[in-house]
């Protein structure tokens, strides 16, 4: 029964999980290699460039903090596209993609928060300020955790996928509103803020390692995402096989 309906839904070539597994197996070694390469290059660059005269050594935190913040937003975008795929095109891999991306996105967001906090302590003298950017990243983190919790709370994969997709999309249209309102709130509450995240325009000397690290992070994300998607497909396959085995035992008995 389940297998039949799966076969019909997975008719189109791209949507075929078996084909996806084959593609992932071919792609993953290359992705892993590229990720390692870029990380080595990025870290070397990050530690060979000179420290900023203003920020000193702490500028090196930027190379791991800023890409993590970028990735936290890109991951949500990937999830939103997957959610569209689930709801509009009923792509069978879309909900696998959304489910696999959520923990990765939460981890990157947490990384951005921790490294940002560690950067803020020597720079601003405090672990946390209710700055617009920090606050909206924190809200994003809460949303990731809520989505993961929701996905775990529903047993049926199909139903969980649809409901999560709806919430992901609501969140996606809400993120700009939240960002905007937090900025408004921030200017209202602390008009003469000493905190300036953007500071002077970035010197190309810092930009180079930053961009290399950003590429490395992006590659890392896609590597992990594809691997996690593969795990999820395997998990569903195991579940389907167990159900099938249980049924055939029933029939024999």
């Amino acid at each position: 029964m389940t297998d039949n309906s799966l076969a019909i839904r997975k008719f189109s070539d791209l949507a075929n999980p078996t084909r996806f597994l084959a593609l992932a197996a071919r792609l993953l070694p290359w992705l892993i290699g590229a990720t390692v390469l870029f990380f080595v290059a990025g870290l070397t660059l990050a530690f060979t460039t000179e420290g900023d005269y203003q920020q000193g050594e702490t500028v090196r935190i930027m190379y791991i903090h800023v890409p993590a913040a970028w990735l936290s937003m890109m991951c949500y975008t990937v999830m939103a596209i997957s959610a569209l795929g689930t709801l509009v095109w009923r792509h069978p891999l879309a909900d696998v993609s959304a489910k696999a991306a959520a923990p990765i996105g939460a981890a990157f967001t947490l990384m951005a928060l921790i490294t940002g906090s560690l950067w803020g302590k020597p720079m601003w003298g405090t672990w946390w300020v209710w700055d617009a950017r920090l606050t909206s990243v924190f809200v994003l983190f809460l949303m990731y955790l809520g989505l993961i919790a929701l996905n775990r709370a529903i047993d049926e994969p199909g139903k969980a996928a649809k409901l999560c997709a709806i919430l992901i999309l609501i969140g996606f249209v809400n993120i700009p509103i939240i960002k905007f309102s937090v900025e408004w709130w921030n200017t209202l509450h602390q008009p003469a803020s000493v905190v300036r995240l953007d500071g002077p325009t970035i010197d190309p000397e810092f930009l180079r390692p930053l961009l290399v690290m950003a590429v490395a992070y992006t590659l890392l994300f896609f590597t992990l995402h594809i691997a996690a998607m593969r795990n999820e497909i395997w998990r569903r396959r195991v579940m389907a096989l167990r159900r099938q085995a249980a049924r055939s035992i029933d029939r024999e008995a």
Partner: protein, 219 residues
């Protein structure tokens, strides 16, 4: 539609319907705050609008998971899914009825609590106005959460977690408009206008998302 509206209001107002419990919760939350921060009247009047808003937000969320639950239990949810009128419209009517039964009492209870908080009449009026404009937004966005909660065995808490981050803009503009009315330099109208815009925006996406969630959880 009118029949559904009236039925929902009657059900909510009846004893055990939950509307009065929401107001009671609101009263209790606001009454507990002075015990936490001390009986300093100046401080209380300064943070009064914020406390009223937090209390209203929490008590709005409290009743929301029941929005579709009763319908699911007695089976009328399936009727709503099958009937001629579009589900989005049904959900919208249910939201409005829910707000009339549980949001409006909060707005009416706000002045009384404002007096407890030693707020002056201008601040009370401004808070009431922002609550009147802002609580529908919470109901609408919460309806989407309630639509999701229908599929969960006990989804109330999880829905609050999911909806609260989305309600942050409402809180920000509600409170800042209420403060702007009292503090001189800050303009009152822009935050109020944005609050209205958010409410209207949520009035569109909330029912649409709730309808989609109800549909996907029923099949």
């Amino acid at each position: 539609m009118t029949a559904l509206f009236l039925r929902d209001i009657r059900l909510a107002v009846r004893a055990g319907g939950g509307a009065m419990i929401g107001v009671l919760f609101f009263l209790t939350v606001v009454a507990v705050v002075p015990f936490a921060i001390g009986p300093d009247l100046n401080l209380l009047s300064r943070i009064g609008p914020a406390i009223l808003w937090i209390g209203a937000l929490l008590s709005c969320l409290l009743g929301l998971d029941r929005l579709f639950q009763a319908e699911r239990e007695d089976g009328s949810l399936d009727l709503m899914l099958m009937q001629e009128t579009p589900l989005v419209l049904t959900v919208l009517v249910k939201c409005v009825a829910h707000w009339m039964a549980s949001g409006l009492p909060l707005v009416l209870a706000a002045p009384l609590l404002g007096l407890f908080m030693n707020m002056d009449s201008l601040a009370i009026g401004a808070t009431m106005l922002t609550l009147l404009v802002g609580t529908p937004a919470i109901t609408f966005i919460g309806a989407a959460g309630a639509g999701v909660a229908v599929a969960l065995p006990r989804g109330g808490l999880l829905v609050s977690i999911l909806v609260l981050p989305l309600a942050i803009p409402v809180l920000i503009f509600g409170v800042s408009a209420a403060y702007a009315a009292v503090q001189d330099p800050a303009p009152f109208l822009p935050p109020l206008m944005i609050l209205i815009a958010i409410t209207l925006f949520f009035a569109v996406i909330g029912p649409v998302a709730a309808a989609a969630a109800l549909r996907s959880s029923s099949d």
